[in-house]
């Protein structure tokens, strides 16, 4: 009998599901993956239950690709469970890596989110006239119903459990997934704790012409049709390529659209948004505080959305400030 195939698990927490699609986007190579691995848990594609995982011996899964941030008690439980059962836990995609779009909800607390969704939201009104909220426990005639607890703050995977590798991107590009999986199969992985990818920024892969930077006006993408040859940032578009880890092949700039930063920062950078703001404020072409203020106000109406689109939950800021008396009540 040949040597047992390595065991692979995939899981989906707080994310849009694009990462799952991205795995399939490796196309026919998925067959190689399926052939190389024994897929033991993948709720989207394979019928297996949580209790099956619970029964597995600790450390018996060789690789777990975990996408999504941690928003609920159920996701937290699954993260802990899969951590225990897996030799290598990979934060797969931007949500698990940095919180991504779901992490932007950290600008609000649970109460505000629930208000939006269950009270003011057009999706639930007028179907929710009694203003019901999801509760962890609800008594019904048949007994007690359980729902996961919805946390106040979205956490990244490594804010919840220890993570061995990170595969960046929203979603990770098919070729990078394949390369990472191949590396796992061949045992050619970088040191634990690494982000699998390059340690330079998108500019490195971007063929546009670059000059010394001086920016007089920022534009939003719909305001101008940028020249296809020169650096988008120099044309006043908020291109995050200067701060974003390379590896995508500068996909967005290649189609005349600024990089939005989904790969996150380079090694050693603690706060992507702070880096972007520090860099851009350094090249605004004015000495006059009022003019500088105007350039920023007019050109960057949404600084959090522009600079922390993917990384708010992983940033030094993490979330909107919470008054001290609110903390204990809503953390869990």
């Amino acid at each position: 009998m040949s040597k047992a195939k390595p065991k692979l698990a995939l899981y989906w927490a707080a994310s849009c599901g694009g990462c799952e699609i991205a795995v399939l986007a490796v196309n026919e190579k998925i067959l190689d993956v399926a052939a190389a691995f024994d897929i033991v848990f993948w709720p989207v594609a394979v019928d297996a239950k949580v209790r099956d995982v619970e029964k597995m011996p600790d450390g018996s899964i060789d690789v777990c690709l975990f996408n999504g941030g941690i928003r609920t008690s159920e996701q937290e439980y699954m993260a802990q469970l899969l951590r225990r059962k897996s030799k290598a836990l990979v934060a797969f995609g931007s949500c698990a890596h940095e919180g991504c779009i779901p992490g932007l909800a950290n600008l609000n607390n649970r109460e505000e989110i629930f208000n939006t969704v269950y009270k003011e939201g057009s999706a639930t009104q007028p179907e929710n006239p009694k203003n019901l909220r999801p509760l962890p426990e609800t008594e019904v005639a048949e007994g007690t119903l359980h729902l996961p607890v919805f946390y106040d703050t979205l956490k990244t995977l490594n804010q919840t459990v220890a993570v061995d590798y990170y595969l960046p991107g929203c979603p990770p590009e098919a070729e990078n997934i394949l390369a990472a999986v191949t590396a796992i199969i061949e045992g050619k992985l970088p040191p634990p704790g690494s982000v699998i990818g390059k340690n330079t920024t998108v500019c490195d892969e971007c063929p546009r012409k670059r000059n010394e930077k001086k920016i007089k006006k920022f534009h939003r993408t719909w305001e101008i049709i940028p020249d296809e040859e020169t650096c988008l940032l120099e044309q006043g578009l908020l291109c995050c390529g200067i701060a974003t880890r390379a590896g995508c092949g500068a996909l967005c700039p290649a189609v005349n659209s600024p990089c939005i930063g989904c790969h996150g920062p380079n090694d050693g950078v603690l706060d992507f948004g702070a880096r972007m703001m520090s860099a851009l404020s350094s090249v605004i072409d004015s000495e006059d505080p009022e003019e500088i203020n105007r350039i920023i106000q007019e050109g960057i109406p949404d600084p959090v959305g522009s600079f922390y689109r993917f990384s708010l939950a992983a940033s030094q800021l993490r979330r909107k400030h919470r008054p001290a008396n609110e903390k204990s009540a809503t953390t869990k």
Binding site: E98, E212, N266, A279
Partner: protein
Amino acid sequence: MAERVGIYVCHCGSNIAGMVDVEEVAKWAGVAIPDVVVARDYKFMCSSLGQQMIEEDIKKEKLTRVVVAACSPHLHEKTFRRACQNAGLNPFLCQMTNLREHCSWVSTDRLAATAKAKALVYAAAERVKRQQPLEPMPVKVNPTTLVVGGGIAGIQATLELADAGYKVYLVERSPSIGGHMAQFDKTFPTLDCSACILTPKMSEVGQHENVTLLTYSELEEVSGSVGNFQVKIRKKARHVDYDKCTGCGICIEKCPRKVIDHEFEAGLGYRKAIYTPFPQAVPRIPVIDTESCIWFTRGKCQACSKLCPTQAIDYDQQDETIEIEVGNIIVSTGWNLFDCTKLPQYGYGRLANVYTNMEFERLCNAAGPTNGKILMRDGKTEPDSVAIIHCVGSRDSRHNEGCSAVCCMAALKFGHLVLEKTKAKVYSFYIDMRPNQKAYEEFYQRLLEEGMIFVRGKVAEVTDAARQPSEEGKLIVQAEDTLLGKQQRYPVDMVILMGAMEPQADAKELGLKCGISCSMAGWYTERHPKLDPVATMTDGLFVAGVCQGPKDIPASVAQGAAAAARVMGMITKGTVMIEPIVASIDEEECSGCRICNNLCPFNAIEYDEEKGVSRVVTALCKGCGTCVAACPAGAITGAHFNNQQIMAEIRGALWDAAPEAKEEPAAV
């Protein structure tokens, strides 16, 4: 291997120990902070015994890192780094934390101060563990010096250096060197003729083979660093060819345009549109005041050009910017007179016979507009009585809080000159008499004997509104004689306002160009107020004279000479060690986005077009960190200030507030 850290907490006499429980801090540090193998407190860590203690510990305890919790690194970082080096430890593995200025001196609560001291020590310990050994770089010192400002302080500095055989560039903004001293008649307390002692020095500068004199020139830009500064100087267009002009003065004589001389004659006299500020000006080359010149304003005349025997007049001359390289810079840019119209109650500008001190200097100068006769504004009448008002715009929280240091003595000098030259009564209205240098008190006594009348009180008002017949046609000085405790009115003919010394209007701007900071009052800040009075925080930059703070001529001269001595020290040594705290770019991580290219204030970043990366030129880098902060890729590291070190320092400072954050954050 874990580092072995030594912690040294200084009492600084009672400076720190008076507010911080230093014994407790040391005892606690030995237990609470990881990797600390020895923690001690000592009365004066900077003493030779204190240093010796550190050196012995390094050897005996095999310390690999040292934290000294004492005063400001500005004062003693060098001391402790040297101590570490003596014991074989790289000096950059020693970290100071400031328990004095940052803690004890600014606290009133002993418990809180002690807690803060612990946080500072913890922060320093966490930081120092991550510091790396660095080696200073030797740089050759260019033996040429730049002196900015040609008043007496600058002249003295220039001559000291030039006489010692070193080349000096002396830059002066006005057409001649000499400064304020050239305007004075006599100097206190010896009553030497100011011009007689100054002009020989001026001509010596003008003729010295080692001096390049750049008058009517402004300092535009300074780059580089100690030992190797590059300086751009703008020579303003004189419209007179420096090489052709012989200084014969025919042009000045023949120029038909007379204008009021607001600079040298303080508005009391006239000069021509082509002029030298005064007859003994150095250089003797005149300049054309294009705002007054008939040719420049109306396109006619050209008298000077027609009559110049050497065809030296050049109406088309343009400003010229030259670049020079020097090793050290002495800034001696002097002062400005307080605008006495800011105190309307004294009537300056409104009441004709109210004078400023600079006006009076010209009035009693033998070469001045009245040939030294003390006359009122009508140009004929001698005053019968003169009031001198002290502290006009100085010692006044609305204008200049500080004392101008020279006015008491100048007022005594004025009193003497009035008594000598006229039959007038002289009143001095003073707050305090401060004749506090050699032979100054004696001069004060002399004036008391000569009959100058001293009234101790701040003048409320100078007015021409008479209340009784004896006041008609007089200026009435209203003041409280605080020794009598009585409001008095003193009718006089002439009032002299002892206006304050103020920093030059553009002192801050020049300071920014060179890298010298200003005090709140606007005077340049010396490296140490007692022990390093002519050096500044920027190596290779020195200050001398009044630009550093109000002082009299002897003190200015002493500072000029002191600054020159410091520069000679640098030149003789030949090399300086440059701190190795510089930025570097990891070429692997740099994607050549070029964000940093424009930012470096020292032009130390270059872009390699071929490789598509930016690079730091180490010799030019001053380690300011601008590019480090701006690099979006995190590809630039500032040695001694890397992320790891700074974050560790922050975590250490928060040791009790956020103990969970003690660990290094996981990657990303």
